[in-house]
Amino acid sequence: MTRHHPDSLTLMEYSAGNLSEPHALCIRLHLDKCPHCRSRVDTLDSLGAVMMEEQPKVSVSESVFDNILACIDSEPAAETVRAAAPRISPLQKLLGEDLNELPWKRQLGDVSVLDISEKFPGQSEQVVLQKLVAGGKAPAHTHRGNETTIVLQGAFADQNGVFNQWDFVVLNEQDEHKPIAVGCEDCITLSVLSAPVKLTGKFTRLLNPFIR
């Protein structure tokens, strides 16, 4: 179980570029709002640079440099500046302006979900948005495999504490919890699931196929 911030091994896999796209998105969204983890990643990026420096070198033919020059000379100057244009946040690009306006699908009681896996073609994980209405409760459940979650809006609480916007959580089969949305906003989370969620309550077990 990882709570509030990603652990260093996960950040290392991120820095090395080894995470799947949905996992990298969770880390990136957290990093944008967490200077502490940002500086941990900066240091890991430096480790990557030092590792690259320590490896054998393979000579590159000089014609490659000629190709590079031809390439940059053929580009309009505007190409260079393009990179400096203000960036739209990846979340906005993916989901638009208002998370509340998405075509949510009502599930059990206070929970709505939206499967956005198709936005990550070629990735094996399931990517799901979940919304818990302000003050609402989700049924108790555990998780099969690992579930990585980042809070996009509002906050939720379970027996382990309160999770605010941009907090990062990893849960697995040992972690049974019963989250409650706290605060006055609906709580919206983005989760990357390696396997479906398993409900643990007596009654809700029957509804298992309907919840992820």
Binding site: M1, R3, H4, H5, D7, S8, L9, L11, E13, S15, A16, G17, N18, E21, A24, L25, R28, L31, D32, P35, H36, R38, S39, R40, V41, D42, T43, L44, D45, S46, L47, G48, A49, V50, M51, M52, E53, E54, Q55, K57, V58, S59, V60, S61, V64, L69, C71, I72, E79, T80, V81, A83, A84, R87, P90, K93, L94, K119, P121, G122
Partner: protein, 199 residues
């Protein structure tokens, strides 16, 4: 005019030679400096491509990385990242980008690689933390030589061969827990991670 030390000096709160060169590329489109960077980092990037299964595209990756360096050099801020760190992240992103493009059509790429993997210094709100950065880079270079071989091997596989911890475990035929503890030990000794935030 560009003069070069054969090896970059240890940065001491000032620009190392590679960062100075990159700075010149960004400010003055200095092609001599650009070529010096190509001669130094080109062979590293080519090895990087070969180590992670892009052998037949190795020089293509070198080219993509350098074109990207040229385009982005105006954004480079030596106080936010050393040239070597900045170039490593560009090489990483171009590798990911190349693999993504091989696997699908660009129409399917809703999220760009740079939306997922950030290049240090891109975020303008970021505070300048040069002292911390320079210290940590120096520390990494110095401490790496004191690490046991088995720890370096694991880190090299993660960074250079782009293997997940699970893949490294499978390849070396050791439990995943052993891989993770080697990485943790190394990161602790490198003081990369002062403490994990898991409560």
């Amino acid at each position: 005019m560009t003069t070069l030390d054969p090896k970059p000096a240890k940065p001491e709160g000032r620009k190392d030679p590679w960062s100075q060169l990159l700075d010149k590329v960004g400010k003055y489109q200095d092609r001599e400096a650009y070529h010096a960077l190509f001669e130094h980092f080109g062979p590293q990037i080519k090895y990087y491509a070969m180590a992670n299964g892009l052998a037949s595209h190795a020089e293509e990756l070198v080219q993509e990385v350098f074109v990207s360096i040229w385009r982005r050099s105006c954004l480079y801020d030596w106080r936010k990242a050393a040239a070597s760190t900045w170039i490593f992240t560009i090489a990483r992103n171009q590798r990911i980008d190349m693999l993504r493009k091989m696997q699908r059509s660009s129409a399917e790429m809703l999220v760009e690689t740079e939306d997922l993997w950030q290049i240090p210094g891109d975020n303008e709100d970021e505070p300048v933390t040069s002292l911390h950065r320079l210290m940590s880079e120096r520390r990494i270079r110095e401490s790496l030589s004191h690490l046991p071989e088995e720890q370096i091997t694991v880190i090299a596989k993660v960074y250079m061969e782009n293997k997940s911890h699970q893949m490294v475990a499978d390849e070396l035929d050791i439990p995943l827990g052993t891989v993770k503890s080697r990485v943790r030990l190394a990161l602790n000794k490198l003081k990369v991670i002062l403490q994990d935030q898991n409560v």
